[in-house]
C-alpha cells in the first residue's frame, strides 16, 4: 500500500456544476476520502481533461483514480487508463438526471452526490489494478466433436479463419444425417424445388483441408484442462488413444430420431408401410440410385397415396413423448411430398398438420408444394392401422370439425422429432442413473468436478440463451452447435456452426491473453483465493455456474481461471470471504456501503441500499436517469457483477450501519432466464431466502431486504419500484439500528 497514490477528479460538465456544489465535493474527497490529489474540471472527458488525468498518472505517480462524473457505462474509452485502478462515481445519470431540478430537491441531491463520491473513494482504496490471469494456455487448435453438417461446417469455417482443427466422429464416415438425405430444402430463389444436399462436396472439402485432422470411428475418452489448454484423449478405431491439445471445443453431436416404435397408435413399429422421415429419405435415395420410383416397403408395391403425419410424438402435452416442436419436420414433409409429386403428379400426397411451421423462405416452398398439388389438411391423426397392402389413417379434421378417414394409404410417413445427443445429464443424481436401463454415455468425458458433459437447460438440449447469447454453454471455451443446442434443419445448423466456431476462436484468444470470455469479455481480473482461511465447505465448487472450480485431494478448491467468467458467484457463496478479485471484492463493496453518510433516525432521511446487476438492472437505472425518470434521493446504488456475487456480509454490514432497506435487482431466472451468468441470479435468490433469519436475529422487519427481477428494458418500472419501496420504508419507519455501528 505504500506506493498507492490516490486522486479524485470531479467533473462539472453536463450540468453537474450547476446542480451540485462541486467545491464541497472536493472538500469531502480531501477530508473524508483522504485523496492525495483532488481536482475539479469543467469538462473532464474533453481531450484536455483526459490529458490532465493522464499527466497525473504519468508524472505525479497517481495509481488510483476516482472519477466523479458520468456513469461507469459512459465515456469508457475516454476514461480508460490501463495503468491505474479506476473507480467511477455516477453523478450525472445517477444523481442530477435522476433528480428534479428544484430548490427543494437541491439539498438531497447534493447529499446523493456527496455520498457517491465518498463511496467511490472508499471503493478505490480497496482496489488493485488487475494484472491478468497468469495461468494461461496458448493452444489455438479447435476440437470439433461430431462430423455431421454442423461439425463439418465448423471445421471448415475455423480452417478458413486460419485455425487448425481436430475433428472427432463417432461413426466410420463423415456427413451425419445430412449425408443420408436424398435432397434438402432449397436455399435459393425461387425456393420451389428440393435441391442436392451438397454433402459430398462438404465432406470432400473437409477431407482435403490440410488444417483439419479427422478421426473417424473415434470417441473422446477424457477432456481435461481449460480454455487454451484442453488436453483431450481420443480413443481411435485401433483401440489406441491419441492425445490432442486444443484451445477450445465445438460440440456438434447432433441428434437421434425419436424412436418410431414408441408410437404404436400411429402404426409405428407395427406396419412396414409406416416409416419415419429418415427412412423415406433412404427409400428415395435408393430408388433414385436405381432409377426407380419409391415403392411400398411392405411388399414393393406401387405407391399411389402417401400420408404425412406431422408432429408425430412431438408437441406432446401428455408427457409421454417429446414436448417440443423440432422445427425442421414440416419442411421435410413438404420436401418429401414433392419427391412423389415431381416423379408423378397423379400420386395423392396428403400432409396432415396442426400448425404448418415453415420459417424463413419455407413459406415459398410451401406454396410451391401447393402448386404441385400436395394436399394440406389441418387435422390431428388419431390412428394408423395396417389395412390390406397399405394403411388406414383416421384423423380429426380440425377445420371441418369432424372425424375423417383416408383409406388405402400405401405409405404413411411419421414426422418424428430430434432428440439431442448431449451425453450425460449431470443434474441427474448418480443413484438415479444407477437405476436406468440404458446408461447414458458421456460425450466429452470432462474431468470437471461438476460432471462429465455440458449442463443441459431443458429437454436435454445444452444450455444457451437463444436470443442473447446462443452457442454459450456453462462450460467456458466449449460451444454447442446444431441440433444438440436446439432442434434445427440443415440451413440453420450450417449457420449455427459458423457462429459457434467464431465464439470458440474468441474464447481461445482471450484465454491466451489471460482475459475473460463473454460476458465480461476482456476483463483482466480473476478470482484469487486465500486458501489458508478456507474451510473446505465446497460451496464455491458446487455453485460455480461454469464448473471452473475443481477440488484437490485435500478437498481444497482448485481454481481454473481460464474457465472462469468472472461473475463472482464463488465470492458471493464463500462464508469466510476468502475469494476476491483485485478490483471487486467483499471489501470494495463493503467500503462503499460503509462510506455512505447515514443520517440519524430523526432526520426523516432514510437510506436504501440498491445492489443492482451491472448487466441489466444498472443500465436500466442509468437509462431511467437519461429519460429523467426521477426516483427517490434516499437510494444509494452499487453495481454488482451479478446478484450471484452478493455476499451476505454486505447485507449484514448495511443493516448494522443503519440502512433502512436493501433492494436487490437482478435478472430473471428459471428456464427462460436472462441472467448473463445463467445461474447467478437463481443462486442469489436461494441464498437471500435465508436472509430472513438474519433479519429476525436483528429484530428487523422482513421488508427491510427485498429483491426484484429486472430487465434492461424496465426503464419506467425500475424508478417505480424504487419509489414504491421508499414509500414502504416510510411506512414501516426508520431502522432502529442507526448509530450503533
Amino acid at each position: 500500500m505504500a506506493d498507492m497514490k490516490t486522486a479524485a477528479y470531479i467533473c462539472k460538465g453536463c450540468g453537474i456544476g450547476e446542480r451540485v456544489d462541486t467545491a464541497q465535493m472536493a472538500k469531502i474527497a480531501t477530508k473524508e476520502g483522504k485523496m492525495h490529489l483532488v481536482r475539479e474540471h469543467d469538462f473532464l472527458c474533453s481531450a484536455a481533461g483526459v490529458q490532465l488525468i493522464r499527466d497525473d498518472i504519468d508524472k505525479e505517480g497517481v495509481t488510483h483514480a476516482v472519477i466523479a462524473a458520468c456513469s461507469r457505462r459512459a465515456k469508457t474509452e475516454a476514461f480508460y487508463f490501463p495503468s491505474a485502478a479506476v473507480a467511477r462515481a455516477n453523478i450525472r445519470e445517477g444523481v442530477i438526471w435522476a433528480r428534479p431540478d428544484t430548490a427543494e430537491a437541491r439539498e438531497t441531491t447534493q447529499e446523493m452526490a456527496d455520498d457517491y463520491l465518498r463511496m467511490g473513494c472508499g471503493e478505490l482504496k480497496k482496489m488493485k489494478l488487475p494484472g491478468g490471469n497468469p495461468d494461461t494456455g496458448h493452444a489455438k487448435r479447435l476440437l470439433v466433436v461430431g462430423g455431421g453438417v454442423s461439425g463439418l461446417t465448423a471445421a471448415l469455417e475455423a480452417s478458413k479463419t486460419g485455425y487448425q482443427v481436430v475433428l472427432v466422429e463417432k461413426s466410420g464416415s463423415l456427413g451425419g444425417w445430412a449425408a443420408t438425405l436424398h435432397k434438402r430444402m432449397p436455399v435459393r430463389e425461387p425456393y420451389a424445388d428440393p435441391q442436392d444436399s451438397g454433402m459430398n462436396e462438404l465432406i470432400a472439402a473437409v477431407k482435403g483441408d490440410r488444417n483439419i485432422k479427422v478421426h473417424t470411428n473415434a470417441v473422446i475418452a477424457k477432456t481435461d484442462g481449460a480454455p487454451g489448454r484442453f488436453k483431450v484423449d481420443i480413443s481411435v478405431e485401433s483401440g489406441s488413444s491419441v492425445t490432442e491439445e486444443v484451445g477450445a471445443i465445438v460440440q456438434a453431436t447432433g441428434f437421434t430420431t425419436y424412436d418410431i416404435a414408441k408410437l404404436p397408435e400411429l402404426g409405428g413399429g407395427k406396419s412396414a408401410n409406416v416409416i419415419d422421415q429418415a427412412t423415406l429419405e433412404r427409400l428415395a435415395a435408393d430408388g433414385a440410385a436405381k432409377g426407380q420410383p419409391i415403392r411400398r416397403p411392405g411388399d414393393g408395391g406401387e405407391v399411389n397415396t402417401v400420408v404425412f403425419v406431422q408432429c408425430a410424438g412431438q408437441r406432446d402435452e401428455s408427457g409421454k413423448h417429446l414436448a417440443y416442436c423440432s422445427g425442421f419436420c414440416c419442411g421435410a414433409s413438404v420436401k418429401q411430398a414433392m419427391y412423389f409429386k415431381d416423379a408423378n403428379p397423379a400420386i395423392n400426397t396428403v400432409v396432415i398438420y396442426d400448425d404448418l411451421r415453415m420459417p424463413g423462405n419455407g413459406e415459398d416452398f410451401y406454396r410451391s408444394a401447393q402448386r404441385k398439388g400436395v394436399i394440406f389438411t389441418k387435422g390431428k391423426v388419431t390412428s394408423v392401422e395396417a389395412q390390406g397392402q397399405g394403411c388406414e389413417v383416421k384423423f380429426r379434421d380440425l377445420i371441418l370439425d369432424e372425424d375423417a378417414t383416408i383409406a388405402g394409404a400405401d405409405l404413411v410417413v411419421l414426422a418424428t422429432g430430434q432428440v439431442p445427443n448431449s451425453g450425460v445429464n449431470i443434474d441427474i443424481p448418480e443413484e438415479e442413473v444407477a437405476k436406468m436401463e440404458v446408461k447414458p454415455v458421456s460425450i466429452l468425458n470432462l474431468t470437471y468436478r461438476q460432471g462429465k458433459d455440458l449442463p443441459q437447460l431443458t429437454q436435454g438440449f445444452t444450455d444457451s440463451h437463444f436470443i442473447c447469447f446462443p452457442y454459450e454453454t456453462r462450460r467456458t471455451g466449449i460451444y454447442s452447435a446444431g441440433p444438440v443446442r436446439r432442434p434445427m434443419d440443415v440451413a440453420q445448423a450450417t449457420e449455427d456452426a459458423a457462429g459457434a466456431t467464431l465464439k470458440a476462436i474468441q474464447a481461445m484468444e482471450n484465454a491466451g491473453l489471460g482475459r475473460a470470455a463473454h460476458p465480461r469479455s476482456g476483463d483482466l481480473s480473476y478470482p484469487i483465493v486465500q486458501l489458508d482461511g478456507c474451510t473446505q465447505c465446497k460451496r464455491c465448487t458446487v455453485e460455480c455456474p461454469f464448473g471452473a472450480i475443481d477440488e484437490d485431494e485435500k478437498r481444497y478448491p482448485v481454481f481454473n481461471e481460464s474457465r472462469c467468467r468472472r461473475c463472482g458467484t464463488c465470492m458471493g457463496a464463500c462464508p469466510v470471504r476468502v475469494i476476491s478479485f483485485e478490483n471487486y471484492s467483499c471489501d470494495t463493496v463493503g467500503a462503499q456501503i460503509k462510506a455512505v453518510d447515514v443520517p440519524d433516525e430523526f432526520s426523516e432521511k432514510p437510506r436504501i441500499l440498491v445492489l443492482a446487476c451491472e448487466n441489466d438492472a444498472y443500465p436500466a437505472i442509468d437509462m431511467a436517469g437519461m429519460q429523467k425518470n426521477c426516483y427517490s434521493a434516499f437510494v444509494r446504488v452499487i453495481p454488482v457483477r451479478c446478484l450471484g456475487s452478493v455476499n451476505t456480509i454486505w447485507i449484514t454490514d448495511a443493516l448494522n450501519a443503519g440502512y433502512d432497506g436493501i433492494m436487490m435487482l437482478g435478472c430473471k431466472h428459471g428456464d427462460d432466464y436472462q441472467c448473463h451468468f445463467v445461474k447467478g441470479s437463481e443462486l442469489a435468490s436461494v441464498r437471500m431466502s435465508k436472509v430472513d433469519d438474519t433479519l429476525k436475529q436483528l429484530s428487523l422487519e422482513a421488508e427491510r431486504v427485498i429483491s426484484h427481477e429486472v430487465a434492461i428494458t424496465d426503464i419506467a418500472r425500475v424508478p417505480q419500484l424504487i419509489n414504491d419501496y421508499a414509500a414502504k420504508i416510510n411506512e414501516i419507519g426508520m431502522s432502529p439500528l442507526k448509530g450503533f455501528a
Binding site: L356, Y366, R367, Q370, R371, G373, F376, D397, I399, A404
Partner: protein, 214 residues
C-alpha cells in the same frame, strides 16, 4: 342438365379438387388456401353461411362434392370483396364463390328456389334483353318469382317505398312500356350467343339454351 353432372362425376371420379380447378372460374386457386380463416371472419353474411369460404376450400380438398355444390353458402356472397383483399394468399375468393355457385347451377345442383340464383337469372335475362337493365320489370319479376299471390303481397308491403321512389322520380310505371336499351341490341345478343358457344367449347359443355336470338 343432370346429364352434365353425371358426365362430370364420371370424368373426375373422386377428384373434386381437380374438377374445381378445371371447371370453376378461378378454381385453380383453391389449392393455395392456407386455412387461416381470415375470409371467414371477414364475410358480410358470414354468420349465415353454413360453410365459410375457408371450410368450402377444405371441403373441396376433402372431396365433399355434393355438400359443396348443393350448399346455399356461396349464394350468400354479397360481392363485398372483403375476403379477397384480406386474404394473405391473395386468393380471388369472391370470384371463386361466384364460380362455384355458377358451376353448381350449371350442373343443376344448386338448391331449388335459391333466392340469389333466381335473382341472378332474372337480372341477366333482364339486362341482356335490351342491353340495359329495366329496374321496374326486374323488380316485378323478382317479387313474382314465387307466384302471383305472393308477388302481390310483397308489392303491397313495399308500396310506400314504391310511392316514395315514384315521387323522387326514381321509379316510373312508364318503364313497363318505354324501355331504355341499346340500339344495336341484336349485335349485342349475337355477341353474347357467340360467347356462350365459345364458353361451351372451352369447358366441354353443351351450349345452354337461352333466348338471345331475337
Amino acid at each position: 342438365m343432370g346429364d352434365l353432372n353425371t358426365q362430370m362425376l364420371d370424368k373426375y371420379r373422386n377428384n373434386f379438387l381437380r374438377e374445381v380447378e378445371e371447371k370453376v372460374d378461378d378454381g385453380d386457386w383453391v389449392k393455395m388456401c392456407m386455412q387461416c380463416g381470415v375470409c371467414a371472419g371477414s364475410c358480410t353474411f358470414g354468420p349465415d353461411w353454413e360453410h365459410t369460404p375457408q371450410k368450402i376450400f377444405m371441403m373441396i380438398r376433402a372431396g365433399k362434392r355434393e355438400e359443396v355444390l348443393t350448399s346455399h353458402s356461396m349464394w350468400l356472397c354479397t360481392s363485398c370483396y372483403n375476403c379477397m383483399v384480406r386474404c394473405p394468399r391473395k386468393l380471388p375468393i369472391t370470384h371463386i364463390m361466384h364460380g362455384l355457385a355458377s358451376y353448381a347451377h350449371r350442373l343443376g345442383l344448386a338448391p331449388k328456389n335459391q333466392p340469389t340464383r333466381d335473382f341472378s337469372m332474372i337480372f341477366w335475362e333482364n339486362c341482356t334483353k335490351t342491353g340495359r337493365v329495366n329496374e321496374l320489370k326486374m323488380t316485378i319479376s323478382v317479387y313474382f318469382r314465387e307466384g302471383f299471390v305472393s308477388g302481390i303481397k310483397k308489392m303491397w308491403t313495399l308500396r310506400n317505398i314504391g310511392r316514395g321512389l315514384f315521387f323522387a322520380k326514381r321509379l316510373n310505371p312508364l318503364e313497363l312500356f318505354v324501355s331504355h336499351g341499346c340500339k344495336d341490341k341484336d349485335g349485342l345478343r349475337r355477341a353474347l350467343k357467340k360467347a356462350d358457344e365459345i364458353e361451351a367449347r372451352r369447358r366441354g359443355y353443351a351450349v345452354q339454351p337461352r333466348g338471345y336470338s331475337s
